[in-house]
């Protein structure tokens, strides 16, 4: 167990630059969009007009998806950033999995770990746990920044969860791709095929 936790912590620490950059990206866009919307459309009339313009704008709907509520700040933010952040969350899961399961193997470090007292499946689970911990950091960054954008707590937590839940799915895709491809570069290239 000590070995598995050491491996998980090592993988988490290894991904810190990626985790921090994604967390910053998530936090910044959540804060910026909620603030910009609140300041750009201060009254209900402004927001109605904006919702109508989006309704007529096929390009905007194509890019960000069909809006469900463009009159509240929360509704706007979840429409405006929810979709694109889910894409980034997918990327986070993919990169994390390929990095953990393929790059380590290519570099010969996996061998060194497996020569220790950790089994193959525990090493695999430890790597997944590290990606899960990274996803938790992203969730926290999102919730905090949504709250900072003065959105309700329940909705913020739920939106953040919806976005971050994409991470494990694509970590799974990445894990499969990393085992199918003979090297890291091909594994990263295989994934978009799964989108």
């Amino acid at each position: 167990m000590a070995a598995a936790s050491a491996v998980a912590r090592r993988a988490f620490a290894d991904a810190r630059v990626r985790t921090i950059s994604f967390a910053l990206l998530f936090a910044l866009s959540a804060v910026i969009q909620s603030t910009a919307y609140r300041e750009g459309y201060p009254t209900v009339a402004d927001r109605r007009a904006f919702a109508r313009s989006v309704g007529e704008n096929d390009a905007a709907r194509l890019l960000y998806g069909t809006p469900h509520d463009l009159v509240s700040v929360g509704g706007y933010v979840s429409w405006r950033v929810g979709g694109s952040m889910a894409v980034f969350a997918a990327l986070f899961g993919l990169l994390g999995a390929v990095r953990a399961m393929r790059a380590e193997e290519d570099a010969g470090r996996a061998e060194l770990l497996l020569a220790g007292t950790i089994s193959r499946h525990k090493a695999f689970l430890a790597q997944l746990a590290a990606i899960g911990a990274g996803a938790a950091v992203l969730w926290l960054a999102l919730v905090v920044s949504l709250l900072a954008g003065r959105l309700p707590a329940g909705g913020s937590a739920y939106l953040a969860l919806a976005i971050v839940s994409v991470v494990p799915v694509f970590a799974g895709v990445g894990a499969v791709a990393s085992q199918l491809a003979p090297n890291k570069r091909m594994a990263t290239g295989l994934e978009p095929g799964c989108w």
Binding site: A6, V7, D14, E111, A115, G116, T117
Partner: protein, 300 residues
């Protein structure tokens, strides 16, 4: 009961067309320092990867302390520490952090002894691995493995990149391990290293163990060298069975003697011999003997 540290039975590994290891039967006894010799591509690393359970054998089995290496690697590794030929470590970690991490993954470390090894190998522990040379990264692996105090050390060409001074430190460390009763499996193509530290050697050639034994036993298989200098010109000597003139000078001869040296000594007894030296073949000569006597494929 002490189980045999390493035992393989008809262990074979095939990669597509290539038979990398062909029915290896190997047994390494507790407390023994076993030298595993062979040129690149002979199957040394394949053997080690099979011993570690990183590869599934095509046929046969490998056991560490009686535990099947492929089926139950975690138990098999409990009493083993490993040094890879390539020091692939985490570039962002310092040497000290790497030692700490490897200690956790392997379970168990003698910190006092590790400190001593860090001093002996003059490792700069605050440096990040990416700033260390190949030899210095190799030191990190060696220190981590020896400080583990494992009953069995599996070392895959561990001294690549080490300078002669560090090579001496390595030999000293292996001898200490032996004194403590640890078993060492040392794969190498550096004959002097194996000759200096190993009790027994196995010579691997194209996936097959072509010879195995104590150094003293192996030496008998090859000719010994006798050098004689004479007072004045080289006298005429009768041709003797098993004695071959390797080199002839104006007043000196060098013989290769297979089998007993007595016929040669008898023939020389009446001659004006000034000096006579005889030496056992070095491991190098034994090694070359094996590689030259084969069909030459992939030999040298």
């Amino acid at each position: 009961m002490t189980a045999t540290p390493i035992r393989t039975e008809r262990l074979s590994k095939r990669y597509d067309e290539t038979l990398a290891l062909d029915g290896l039967d190997l047994e390494v006894q507790p407390g023994e320092v076993y030298g595993y010799l062979g040129p690149n591509g002979a199957g040394k690393t394949t053997t080690i990867r099979l011993l570690l359970g990183l590869l599934r054998p095509t046929a046969g089995r490998a056991e560490l302390f009686g535990v099947d290496a492929w089926r139950d690697p975690v138990t098999a590794h409990r009493r083993m520490a490993y040094v890879a030929a390539e020091p692939s470590l985490w570039p962002g970690l310092t040497a000290a952090e790497t030692l700490e991490f490897l200690a956790r993954v392997r379970g168990g470390v003698d910190t006092g002894y590790r400190e001593l090894l860090v001093q002996r190998f003059q490792l700069e522990t605050p440096k990040k691995l990416r700033a260390l040379s190949h030899g210095n990264r190799q030191k990190v692996q060696l220190i981590a493995a020896f400080a583990n105090r494992a009953d069995l050390l599996v070392l895959d060409e561990p001294t690549g990149g080490l300078d002669p001074l560090m090579e001496m430190a390595f030999r000293e460390t292996v001898r200490e391990a032996k004194e403590r009763g640890q078993t060492v499996f040392l794969s190498s193509h550096i004959l002097s290293e194996v000759e200096a530290v190993c009790d027994r050697v196995g010579i691997l050639r194209q996936g097959q163990l072509v010879d195995q034994g104590k150094l003293a036993d192996l030496r008998h298989l090859s000719a010994q060298t006798v050098e004689v200098t004479f007072d004045g010109h080289v006298p005429a000597l009768p041709s003797l069975p098993g004695v071959e003139v390797a080199e002839a000078g104006a007043s000196a001869l060098r013989f290769q003697v297979t089998g007993s040296i007595r016929p040669l000594l008898a023939a020389l007894a009446d001659q004006p011999v000034v000096t006579l030296t005889s030496r056992e073949p070095s491991l190098e000569e034994i090694f070359l003997h094996h590689y030259e006597s084969g069909d030459g494929r992939g030999g040298r």
